[in-house]
Symmetry: C2
Subunit: 194 residues, 2 copies
Amino acid sequence: MVTRPRAYLAGPDVFLEHVTAIAACKKRLCAAHGMEGVFPFDEAIAERRRSPAAIARAIGAANEALIRECDLVIANCSPFRGVSMDAGTAYEIGFARALGKPVFGYTNVVADYRHRAERYRRLGDPLNADAAKSAIEDFGLAENLMIATATVARDLVRIRVKPGRELVDQRGFVRCLALAAKAMASSSRRRRGG
Amino acid sequence: MVTRPRAYLAGPDVFLEHVTAIAACKKRLCAAHGMEGVFPFDEAIAERRRSPAAIARAIGAANEALIRECDLVIANCSPFRGVSMDAGTAYEIGFARALGKPVFGYTNVVADYRHRAERYRRLGDPLNADAAKSAIEDFGLAENLMIATATVARDLVRIRVKPGRELVDQRGFVRCLALAAKAMASSSRRRRGG
């Protein structure tokens, strides 16, 4: 029996309104591609009566344990509350890479990081979180180079979706999943000498 | 002879205008605390004539190698071009944690993550990078829980600085460095049975 690769489904999806439906959808799509989707679901932990700090630590440790158990990471790297992606997802990508696990990342926004950062500056630094003369990365990548170059494709898979649907549309995930399934099948064949 | 702990100095400082002066200042401060500060300096790599993508990959690999060589990470987690910290720095913290290295993080903004995300929403989602009914973490932490709970202090060291100076003021770094030096000296004594 060939065990299915387990994919940790990183992303800010956990914060979205219809997280349960999104998790179920992503897992079904993984199964259709011969993989098991593992979703960082926090509710079971959060329900126990503990301090907020203790709950946060338990969720962090649980997610790290899940990443260790998985064979790969598929990460939603669409911009989240800023020019860049969700910081927790960036953390998880770095965590997985240090363990040698392949990471596949996607974004539902096609613009380069540079264009998004320049737009932020044109908006007048609305969050007061920039420095006027700071350099803006210009490598033609979709995200900070540490993230983009850490992925198997050496940049994020980019999909253009309907404006306002960037965080809920699953087309970027589907495209990235197909890429991941193909890469995992290929590496599995190599391991079996096929 | 006791070798000095090597601290990887993560943060968006590499993008700031006076990066050379900042790097020198941080290294001097580390030396004054009995540590060697290792700065992710990219210029030597970027000077060679290669494609932007190849330069980005070389910088990413070089920074990962530096993290592997270091004993700890001190990370500037002040908000950068959004509600959250620099995504590349979040990646590096995750990378270091998977390798078991202690991480010390600071921010020059005292507000909880929740307050910053709520302010972003009040501004009308200026970057179109939020989902209207998405949940906002409320653990009383300074950053996404994966980041905050991954640090030795289980949250970022927070310092209030003069508005507009959040990315250049070194007071957060100094406070965090003192914490790191104390913790490293204490763990070194334990290792030597002192």
